[in-house]
Symmetry: C2
Subunit: 341 residues, 2 copies
DNA sequence: TTGAAAGCGCTACCAC
DNA sequence: GTGGTAGCGCTTTCAA
């Protein structure tokens, strides 16, 4: 393991000069540049990033903490984050909070101690994290979910608009008995989807029956159990809007267990689009969130944020970036069964 | 941002003493311990992990590089890695090589420069990475896939045994015309599954027809196209063994496009088990790899490896840990269609 | 039991 | 253009 000193010595220059060459800073006689480069090569020199970070007070590392790596939505976002971060010369320290607020806090502390330059966070609860790091005025960008009273930086999907469009699609097909399976209603991803749904129904003059509003928790099992309740109603819905990928999976299983034809008897519109959604039978109509874009934009926002921490500039940047989703109509939605209704 | 010096000053002790207290090393008068702890608390002191790393020459960080975050198999492994690493006081720097060998190299270089204590790697090609880091005698543990001539440390699934068992299951059901859709055949995950398949067939005295061996590339699309070829055969197979999750998805789509009943006309047995597999209709019979376990074991092996780099000890540790997979029989496999064969 | 001081490898200031 | 050197925040040795 060689150091800059070794390189300098071998090249017959000072460490200062060697450093300048390797960082392409200041100007150095071409001849010396050659010698340094050569020496670096010969010694298989790899600059010690740790030492550099200590000196420069920046690690070129960002932390990301998500509630569940296993959820394809987040991995899709991570993919965007990873590629953009690498492009900008940053590495990623990855943390899974496991949907556990206290673990989330621990992770945030750890990232802070490691002096990451900033953090990307999909929070598990409305408040905790937020005051925590941003209290210390630490570069922090939220993504996917924010609390209703949120005041920091974030990039999210236009959940309300997306849910609205999705519901309009169902209404346009002729459905009047439309149910929803929601997630938790403490953060924007749960709240806004329900809100968009409500708005579309209301505009169409359709009532939202109490029993058509099933509250799940974004987990597979809840999709299944909510679906069961819906199917057992004396007047079951002809269409179901399901607020995330995992619950949609549970819902589809319930349908097939009960032998309820989709879209024959009931149309299904799911939130989140993934490989399996497009290859299910029936191929699922879904709302596709701009996951890759969300990841990239979040990184870019964070980097701007980091920069302006060092040299405060124009702070008229929009704080919450809202990305549009896309409705992908496939085979799981159709006109309602004409035998009744 | 306070430093240890600030804490020491406030507590009225030297930095040496403060350091000892905070690291619970050496012995310090209880009174002073109190004062230091108190000061640390008051200043909201968070030790600078970067400085510590520079001094101690260890970062308590491990790097992980995988070919595709988007593949649920890898995210399942990551989950195990993440939790075990955290448990042991290590953080994770995450890299996606995107199935690109040159990006994989770049990532490895970067991790090296960041002085991670060790690396977990699911390689994209047989050789490149291996010589690279281990040439420098760097703690490195492979997982999921290794090259046939591999000589380093690794934890993998017993692919051969798993494929053998899976094929036996098909044979036991009465199938004689069994096809396989393989992945790339350059690494163990592709090679051994084919080998296990072959072995089972051979033992049962069943021939492996040329046209029943379809070579895919572990991507969804190849599963689809291979399936198409299989279905168009004049004598199509009655069962298909599909070597990973993504390709199985493509295969199932092909089946439903062609209106081929599963398991009525053709049984399907997939490698890799996930949420969607269990909730498909039909519910898919699959080989479930011990993903969580693989992640945990890989971390533990790496940590032992790191330790023995510092203080060489008993080197009679087994170098390749082979984990058993589990066959999960569900509804996509059944006795062959009796109308023929 | 305590603290002064060396030094991890690097960057950047400043004098030459 | 070049190089000597201070110092980033910490751990650890060693003398008191």
């Amino acid at each position: 393991m060689h150091t800059l000193r070794d390189v300098a010595r071998l090249a017959g220059v000072s460490v200062a000069t060697a450093s300048k060459v390797l960082n392409k800073k200041g100007s150095v006689r071409p001849k010396l540049v050659q010698r340094v480069l050569r020496a670096s090569e010969d010694l298989d020199y790899h600059p010690d990033h740790v030492a550099r970070s200590l000196k420069t007070r920046q690690t070129n590392t960002i932390g990301i903490v998500i509630p569940d790596v296993t959820n394809p939505f987040f991995t899709a976002v991570i993919r965007g984050v990873e590629s953009e971060a690498r492009l900008q010369g940053y590495s990623l320290i990855f943390c899974d909070s496991n949907e556990d607020p206290s673990l989330e806090r621990t992770n945030l502390e750890m990232l802070f101690s490691r002096r990451v330059d900033g953090v990307l966070l999909a929070p598990t609860e409305p408040n905790a994290a937020q005051d925590h790091l941003s209290r210390r005025r630490f570069p922090l960008v939220f993504f996917d979910r924010i609390s209703p009273s949120f005041s920091g930086f974030a990039v999210v999907t236009d959940n309300l608009g997306a849910a609205y469009d999705a519901t309009r699609h169902l209404i346009g097909l002729g459905h009047e008995r439309i149910a929803i399976i929601t997630g938790q209603l403490n953060l924007s991803n749960g709240l806004d989807r329900l809100e968009g749904f409500r708005k579309a129904l209301q505009q169409a003059g359709l009532p939202l029956r109490e029993e058509y509003l099933q509250r799940g928790d974004f987990q597979l099992e809840s999709g299944h159990s909510c679906a069961l309740k819906l199917l057992q109603l004396t007047v079951p819905p002809t269409a179901i809007f399901c607020c995330n990928n995992q619950m949609t999976l549970g819902l589809m299983r319930a349908l097939s267990e009960f032998g309820v034809a989709c879209p024959g008897r009931v149309s299904v519109l799911g939130f989140d689009d993934f490989d399996w959604a497009a290859n299910f039978s029936p191929r699922l109509t879904t709302v596709a969130q701009p996951t890759l874009e969300m990841g990239k934009q979040a990184v870019q926002m964070l980097l701007r944020n980091i920069k302006s921490f060092k040299e405060p500039v124009n702070s008229d940047e929009k704080k919450v970036l809202v990305l549009r989703a896309e409705l992908r109509v496939r085979d799981s939605t159709a006109a309602p069964y004409s035998g009744q209704a």
